[in-house]
Subunit: 385 residues, 2 copies
């Protein structure tokens, strides 16, 4: 067989070598040329030239020699994660969280603005702006340093990032959230369902790091879910994957209310917590109410599990703080009803779950825009456009 | 940036060019060198050499000039789909279907053996053998020409092709089906869930060809399902994806029985058909029974649809012959309950759906084994090992 190598092929090899070096540096942390050559499976001579190029482009920097040893220590290099910033937002019914992170997703600063489900849209957007401004200031970031912003929001968000329908936030369906953020930040903006971002966070940084197939179950006053398959959060044909909360089966609303030991007049948001507390005190009525709730939760979870056969279900959302009460009975129900019962664990990332997921999504999206061999040659450090 | 090209890179380019030419030939049908160069986006000189190599290896053949035109017509080439054979099997409760096809999946011959759900395992395996033998004879195929055999079977089949659990066939759970077929055929054998193969068939050859995300709903005396995401049937973490039939929600068993107009003594297998027939005659009781059935079917389908957000649901299985009765009320329920209601269509491939899906799966698996740039150099025509 003869060989035909075109100019395009050579360009592609150049890119591939540079991207392999960069990926090795990001995945394994700072390294010497020899270490990198091994990690990236490239000749040391190739790596040397490639790293020089990447330094000129601004993606890689040589570290100060740590010294200590005799002789000249081998030079070490690292990815310049400080070259840009990623903004993550969690826009919920009761709070807005903003997080600024570097290009490796390391969180530099977090801010929080309280909101209410009933607030008009303009007030919630103003709270978003305040949270962003405070986070930029707090992290010493100027707006042009933000390369990408990812906002998680409750509700059905379509593939274009439009908030089609929100039940948890009153005046939110149809809000032009991406437009609002783009106008303020002048960078790439993605809007994504909050449960999906929470699922991503648990997969990359939380309790699901060892799992490729999982269901994130958001339980609280409202129920929702997200599915991760082969490591990727599932959007489905139109972005509505995981919206099991609207199923009649998932009607868990009143199940945790009619418990005598919970004092009349307890605010609606506090009732479930009071029921869980009563269970911990040994209250039988409360235990029965929780078991009824778990049965319904298990029916819905089993329907999802039988559909996608996950290895793991992560219990997240407000009720995950009561995993000590919920996990064992829910596990029992799943083991009875599923053909292949998934493992069940409680979320570990807590309140910052969605915002951390937004940062993870932003970092991964930047990588596909900047460091993807299909996209084009690697250019000097700059936000993608 | 300097360039480092290794021997491995050159080998890879050779392979990529040959595979690009082969893929172009298979996807677009017979072509001249000029047409192929355009299709594969390679230089004509490269294509010429590559096609010569592929002819020497036995994968491509020059076609007889069709003549008719003045002057010497341009030579045309085609993929040698007759180089090997694919065997597809559908092993169900009531029938065994065997299909022999060429490497492009064109069906050459089909045979059918009746079986019963109650038959002991050995008898069903003997029926499988008879169906295979008859199909080989009928298609003029000798066993060594079969490069791959794919068997679809009811039940939960794990990722290794083990029949973990079958409810529809009595003596079938744990049957060493792959071993049995491998011993007889001495080729690669895959065993897969039948609904998953039916879904694949509808996506590649049937009513779902325009869709990447769909749910195949198998409805009959038992209910099952399969999910296709981004064009690929979903297995899930352990192969149990789609086994919604075991969910308490999907308990549709008795719903189509207590209809007065169906004569007592009608065999269980014929009851549903009689109810559907009564609906067509305008029987109100029968219509109400069907609506009750559809309501339950819709609850289960909606749970799956809210989990994966498909663009299309295909109604398959025995009851799909009564799509004229079922489709409209089911569509109404889905439109009420789903956030983003999928389209609903009836299966068009009918009884051969699973066997055709088995052939499609076999052809695609062969392609990844033989024509995958990651696997190794392209070798002369021979079954994969």
């Amino acid at each position: 067989m003869t060989l035909s190598v075109t100019g395009g092929d050579l360009q592609r090899l150049r890119r591939l070598n540079a991207l392999a070096a960069l990926a090795a540096l990001r995945a394994g942390g700072p390294a010497t040329l020899t270490q990198l050559a091994e990690r990236a499976d490239l000749a040391r001579a190739t790596i040397k030239v490639v790293i020089q190029d990447l330094m000129e482009l601004g993606w890689v920097v040589q570290m100060d020699p740590s010294g200590g040893e005799k002789g000249r220590p081998a030079r070490r290099y690292r990815f310049r994660a400080e070259a840009g910033r990623v903004l993550g937002l969690d826009i919920g019914a009761h709070k807005v969280l903003a997080v600024v992170a570097d290009l490796d997703g390391n969180v530099l600063h977090t801010t929080r603005e309280p909101v209410t489900p009933e607030q008009p849209r303009a007030e919630r957007l103003a709270a978003v702006d305040r949270a962003v401004d405070a986070c930029l200031t707090g992290s010493g970031t100027s707006a042009p340093d933000i390369w990408i912003a990812v906002a998680g929001s409750t509700g059905y968000i379509d593939l274009h990032g439009h908030v089609v329908l929100s039940r948890a936030i009153q005046d939110w369906s149809g809000v032009p959230l991406a437009d609002h953020l783009e106008q303020r930040l002048r960078c790439t903006v993605l809007v994504e369902n909050d449960s999906r971002l929470a699922a991503l966070a648990e997969c990359r940084r939380g309790v699901a790091r060892d799992t490729r197939n999982m269901i994130f179950l958001h339980v609280g006053r409202r129920a929702g879910a997200a599915v991760v398959l082969d490591g990727v959060p599932l959007r489905g044909g139109g972005g509505a994957a995981g919206e099991i909360g609207v199923h009649p089966l998932f009607n868990v609303g009143g199940l945790l209310q009619a418990v005598p030991s919970v004092e009349p007049g307890t605010p609606p948001d506090a009732v479930a917590g009071a029921v869980f507390e009563a269970v911990r005190r040994g209250d039988d009525e409360a235990r029965r109410a929780v078991l009824r709730y778990v049965k319904v939760l298990a029916l819905a979870t089993t329907a999802m599990a039988l559909t996608v056969d996950p290895d793991l279900v992560v219990l997240g959302g407000g009720f995950s703080r009561s995993a000590d009460v919920l996990l064992e009975p829910l596990r029992g129900e799943l083991e009875t009803m599923c053909l292949r019962a998934p493992e069940l664990r409680a979320s570990v990332l807590g309140e910052e779950c969605v915002a951390v997921g937004a940062v993870c999504h932003g970092v991964e999206h930047l990588s596909t825009m900047l460091f993807n061999p299909e996209v084009g040659p690697l250019t000097a450090v700059a936000p993608p456009r």
